[in-house]
């Protein structure tokens, strides 16, 4: 008899915590389903704003859905460059970036971090202009941190964040360029 009571007593905290976790998960699922489309929309707005900033003379951009590539065109309809979304895995989570390249498919036009969750004061410096401006005019094929023989200076104390950006940019952009060329896109 006493044994049974003890058993129930020991089981109670487990049941309670399970119940609380279930309740909080339900609440979060509801909140997430409401906010997710809005967050996506905000992200897109920031992306478009940065895209317009990067390609000053942009008049038109075409989005290839299946490749997730933006082909940026000027007023005359000529291609001035391409833009890609690049997701790198940083120290604190995904680093979501916009990378633009010139129409030669090699020179980097610019890099802009859209969202990240790196450590403030260290990895979060990837959002600072001096870091992002280093990428301008560099050849994508030779992109590397200066410790690896390239000419991108890493952020001191934030090697993981710095190399996450460089590696993800190089890998993703080269892969997308190859896909673009194989599909024969202008």
């Amino acid at each position: 008899m006493t044994e049974k009571r003890n058993g129930a007593k020991e089981f109670y905290p487990v049941l309670l915590v399970t119940m609380i976790v279930t309740l909080s998960m339900t609440a979060l699922i509801i909140v997430n389903s409401i906010t997710l489309p809005l967050i996506e929309e905000n992200r897109k707005a920031v992306f478009n704003e940065k895209l317009a900033e990067m390609f000053g003379e942009m008049d038109d951009s075409e989005h290839l859905e299946e490749l997730d590539v933006y082909i940026v065109k000027d007023g005359a309809g000529d291609v001035v460059g391409y833009a890609f979304t690049v997701i790198g895995s940083g120290y604190g989570g995904d680093i979501d970036m916009l990378v633009g390249i010139e129409s030669d498919m090699a020179t980097i036009r610019g890099l802009s971090v859209i969202t990240h969750s790196e450590t403030p004061g260290l990895g979060a410096k990837i959002t600072e202009p001096w870091f992002q401006e280093q990428f301008q005019g560099k050849d994508i094929n030779a992109l590397a941190l200066s410790v690896n023989g390239g000419d991108i200076d890493a952020i001191s104390g934030a090697t993981i964040s710095s190399s996450a950006v460089v590696d993800a940019v190089k890998e993703t952009v080269l892969a997308k360029i190859a896909e673009l060329q194989s599909e024969g896109v202008p």
Binding site: Y12, P13, L16, V17, I20, V21, S24, A27, L28, V31, N32, I34, T35, L38, I39, N42, A45, V46, G92, T115, S117, T119, P120, G121, A124
Partner: protein
Amino acid sequence: MGRVLETFINGITKSNPTFILLLGLCPTLAVSTSLDNAIGMTAAVMFVLIASNITVSIIKKFVPSMVRIPTFIVIIATFVTITDLSMQAYLPSLSQSLGIFVPLIVVNCIILGRAEAFASKNSVKDSFADALGIGLGFGVAIFIVSFIRQLLGTGEMSLFSWVLFKVPGLSDNPMAIFILPMGAFLVIAFLLAMFRYMGVMEGE
């Protein structure tokens, strides 16, 4: 009623989380670069504090002390995530400038501290008053620090991209050190020393 009011006022003065209890200094130091951040952070902390204090106070009878802390953390984390997602959806620019400090409210010792030290022992009404007082106390503190840092560090006062006033001379050559992390330590240290000297905020 007197007790509720006293609990509320204590949160701002006698047990001010920042200046007396010295709790939750990390967000205070980090996001107090502008008044906008201070207001946004206060709103987020207040919401989480009130919601978690009330919830903890309601369920305190059912929670065995063995699983107390995990339960509180789950409750706090839920409210913080709700706050974070709503901010990202409705106030994207504020969410961008507060960055990681919104999700970090989960481990803010003010919130867990009040759940553990107050809400788990007191009635819902008192816990609400305590959360409101402590939340406002945190707000007042971060507001004062931000005001000084923004004033000296940028030379102008602005609120939600609406410039209130500029200090002649200072706005051309602002003392940028106050915007940097070091400025936060300096300002908080001087404020603490000043409050102690004046005896305005004598601890218990």
